[in-house]
Amino acid sequence: MADNLSFTLNGKPVTLSVDGDRMLLWVVRTELGLTGTKFGCGKGFCGACTVLVDKKAVRSCHFPVKQAAGKEVMTIEGLAQNGTLHPLQEAFAEQDALQCGFCTPGMILGAYSFLLENPRPSRDDIIKAMEGHLCRCGAHKRIVQAIETAAKGMQGAK
């Protein structure tokens, strides 16, 4: 059943006629054409599909799109501003905190949401926060380092 839903996507308003029970992941990747959000497991185990809804990380593979109505949705495509990478993106790129790169968009958005809540995390805080994100290539060490670096870079910034 189609519902008319409106929300903002990466800062721009969108209105869709879509079955509100469908998962946000598929609507973002198909109707909205943004493929940076990845399908990894479909059950919320891996974190590859993480997006932000009102700045909180959610697993879009089991987040019904109707719950996004009236809210701000941000995907990885919305993180860099006018071509300038966010400190998290900078740190991931500079510190080689990725290999195949498939889990990276979800990792970065998961870390972003966490850093908004906890701008001065300890290493243990970071590990705890990222525990639900899987990386098969084993880039964990560099991901933790990149988040530590980005946390410093984000202080004072939004």
Partner: protein, 714 residues
């Protein structure tokens, strides 16, 4: 080269879209210098393909350099390191090098990306081709500048007169209007390590920006107007036969197209989740064979089906006679479970057919083999099939085949529209080519001084990569058993290469056993290994690891809940020693890795940063097969359908990781992406032994198994 030019080659060459010929390439590229070269082994000759080239590089008229290779990027980082090698020999800034990978219409035939061969096998000829191109540029400059060849030098894409530096020409100026073709035949002079400016220096990944912004495209990200997503009916178990399927309910759903073609039953929809939902409406009935084997009985099954006729890969002295002389003999059996590749990106493909030509974007490690497979399935000639490999989201040996690509091509043909097939996580587990369950039996003995007297080693169903004994043993035999009794199968489902195939199992068996011998002889395990090694490379690597780790000889096991382990191994020409510190919770049996140090001698290091990354990845990934990863199954039914029961390493497992690259400038680069994973089973088993006094004989060492081993050891 511009994208339009790529397209003009891809769509233009006369023979259609088959393996690109030299004539095709020269016709459609702009001018400049092209050097054709051949890399790797004998596969081309075996296949009756030309052996004069399987790669080329071009110095374009704009001075940019492009390398064309059938290799693919799946995280291992060759997109960054191959250009480094090229840039150094050619004397150009590394940023002026482009690399085109894994496109069957742009790149020459290639056997696939595996076996840690990209840098080891492809690197040396790539460097030679670059040196050859540099030679051509020098000759052109000699003529243009009217300067004797021997006075000329190159730097940063410029040839200049050493006597009069103002006399110079850029590569772009030299190649302008030229069309020069060279075949690499002779052995051009390669630079010495001391001359390297780019190689040996850390270089950040060139694909990082695309990957952190979501711009990097994987096969599931390809879109085209009018496309459909397919969900395919799958059997409940391997070996199951479809009795009947009723698709009528699905057919009635809005927007659903049902395709039935022999064994292939698919529902198509313009939304992937709707296709998935429609598949649930397909009623099916399968004959499922009775489950005779499961993950608990598999090892007995393997021993039952084995003929016991082995292949001896290593023999020395008289093992049977020597066995009687040994003062201390240990005989043990080691078990290793099925392990999944579980790449974060499931196998995915997108296919479209235009003007009789099939173009398929696929997550594959072997685009050219896939091209042939698709051609067979569609009954067309391979030159009507183009496979493009975008970024691959992890492979680890599991993407040698890409079944969804064949299915997408078949469906695109039948549905007359572009089709995408993306495995669900359950399909990914079901169709994975698991690392085989395997068994290692070792009987070995020492003399009074703790020196080896004999070593009798047999490996069942893992293969013999990494089985060879590198300790100094006077009487030795290494045997590989893979033959099954007539009509009997070892495995109920597909198995295949998993990062450093065979070697994880062999190194677990050998290094666990060596550790047991050391403990029985009451000698520190590092001291014991050094006492029994004559291989200088291994001695150097072991000592480097011990120094970095701060290994202190001690009586083991200390059984203090905290333990230290060591394991050594050789893979893909690379020597590895890993040391680990773990904490074991004796109540739960859970292991917390605290610190891992890995020392590696892999010859010349092209990109130290990339190499460190690969070692870290091997260590972290290796903790999975050491501690939790095993495939649960009952007959052909794969019980693991997601990451709830199949447990991958997580952030909380992360030990402190340190890597040591042991310098060896005499040796060309050896394997880098696999070797450090081989030691992880044994190093953790040995550390767990030190921590608890309990010896684990089976991987993975789950909490349950460790608890059980502890209860037996007291």
């Amino acid at each position: 080269m511009s994208e339009a030019e790529y397209d003009s080659i891809a769509h233009g060459h006369e023979s259609g879209l088959g393996p690109i010929s030299r004539r095709d390439f020269l016709k459609y590229t702009g001018g400049g210098i092209v050097v054709f070269f051949f890399a790797e082994g004998s596969w081309a000759a075996q296949r009756g393909l030309p052996t004069d080239f399987n790669a080329f590089l071009q110095v374009g008229e704009d001075g940019r350099v492009t390398c064309f290779t059938g290799k693919i990027e799946m995280g291992q980082g060759i997109i960054t390191s191959l250009p480094q090698m090229l840039a150094d020999e050619l004397d150009v800034p590394v940023d002026s090098v482009d690399i085109v990978m894994g496109d069957t219409s742009l790149c020459p035939w290639d056997g696939g990306t595996h076996g840690s061969m990209s840098t080891r096998g492809f690197g040396p000829p790539l460097r030679k081709a670059a040196a050859e191109a540099r030679q051509v540029l020098l000759e052109l400059a000699a003529e243009k500048l009217d300067v004797p060849l021997e006075r000329l030098q190159t730097k940063d894409g410029v040839v200049f007169d050493q006597a009069h530096a103002e006399k110079k020409a850029t590569y772009a100026q030299l190649t302008q209007g030229k069309k020069i073709e060279r075949q690499l035949k002779q052995e051009p002079h390669l630079k010495d390590v001391s001359e390297f400016k780019v190689m040996g220096k850390p270089r950040a990944r060139t694909d990082a920006r695309q990957k952190v912004t979501g711009q990097a495209q994987f096969a599931a990200d390809i879109r085209a107007p009018g496309m459909a997503y397919a969900a395919i009916l799958r059997p409940p178990a391997h070996g199951a036969k479809l009795r009947n399927a009723d698709t009528s309910a699905a057919e009635k759903m809005a927007g659903v197209q049902v395709i039935r073609d022999n064994d292939l039953i698919a529902v198509l929809h313009e939304k992937p989740d709707m296709a998935e939902a429609a598949l649930k409406e397909v009623k099916s009935d399968f004959d499922v064979p009775e489950a005779a084997v499961d993950d608990k009985t598999i090892f007995q099954h393997l021993l039952d089906v084995a003929t016991g006729r082995g292949r001896e890969s290593q023999t020395k002295g008289d093992v049977d006679a020597a066995a009687k002389q040994a003062k201390l003999t240990v005989e043990k059996t080691y078990y290793n479970s099925y392990v999944a590749h579980a790449p974060t990106e499931t196998h995915s493909a997108f296919a479209k057919i235009e003007n009789d030509t099939v173009t398929v974007w696929a997550s594959t490690q072997a685009p050219f083999r896939l091209q042939e497979e698709i051609a067979r399935a569609l009954e067309v000639s391979p030159d009507k099939v183009r496979v493009i490999t975008p970024f691959v989201g992890g492979g680890f040996g599991g993407k040698g085949r890409c079944i969804p690509a064949v299915e997408a091509a078949r469906l695109a043909k039948l549905a007359k529209k572009p089709v995408q097939v993306v495995y669900s996580r359950a399909e990914e587990f079901f169709y994975d080519t698991f690392r085989p369950a395997a068994i290692v039996k070792v009987k070995s003995g020492l003399d009074d001084s703790g020196k080896f007297v004999f070593w009798d080693y047999g490996v069942y169903f893992a293969g013999d990569r990494g089985a060879a004994c590198f300790y100094d043993v006077p009487n030795l035999r290494t045997t590989s058993y893979s033959e099954t009794k007539p009509g009997m199968e070892a495995h109920l489902f597909a198995t295949g290469a998993w990062r450093a195939p065979s070697n994880n199992t062999n190194t677990f068996g050998r290094e666990s056993h060596v550790d047991m011998l050391a403990a029985e002889a009451k000698i520190d395990p590092v001291e014991f290994r050094l006492k029994n090694l004559t291989d200088e490379r291994m001695i150097r690597v072991l000592k480097a690891a011990a120094e970095k780790f701060g290994w202190t000889p001690a009586k083991r096991p200390a059984a203090a809940g905290r333990g230290f382990g060591v394991a050594c191994g050789i893979d893909s020409g690379t020597y590895v020693t890993t040391m680990a510190e773990v904490e074991v919770n004796k109540d739960t049996g859970e292991v917390q890795p605290k610190r891992v140090v890995c020392a590696m001698d892999q010859g010349i290091t092209v990109n130290p940063e990339g190499q460190a990354m690969q070692i870290e990845g091997c260590i972290t990934m290796g903790l999975g097969y050491a501690l939790t990863e095993e495939v649960h199954f009952k007959g052909g039914d794969i019980l693991d359908v997601n990451f709830g029961s199949y447990k991958l390493p997580r952030f909380s497992w992360l030990p402190e990781i340190e890597t040591v690259l042991v310098e060896n400038k005499e040796l060309t680069p050896q394997g880098g992406g696999e070797p450090a994973v081989i030691t992880m089973g044994a190093v953790i088993a040995n550390a767990v032994f030190d921590a608890t006094g309990a010896r684990l004989f089976q991987l993975p060492m789950t909490g349950e198994r460790i608890k059980e081993a502890i209860s037996k050891s007291v």
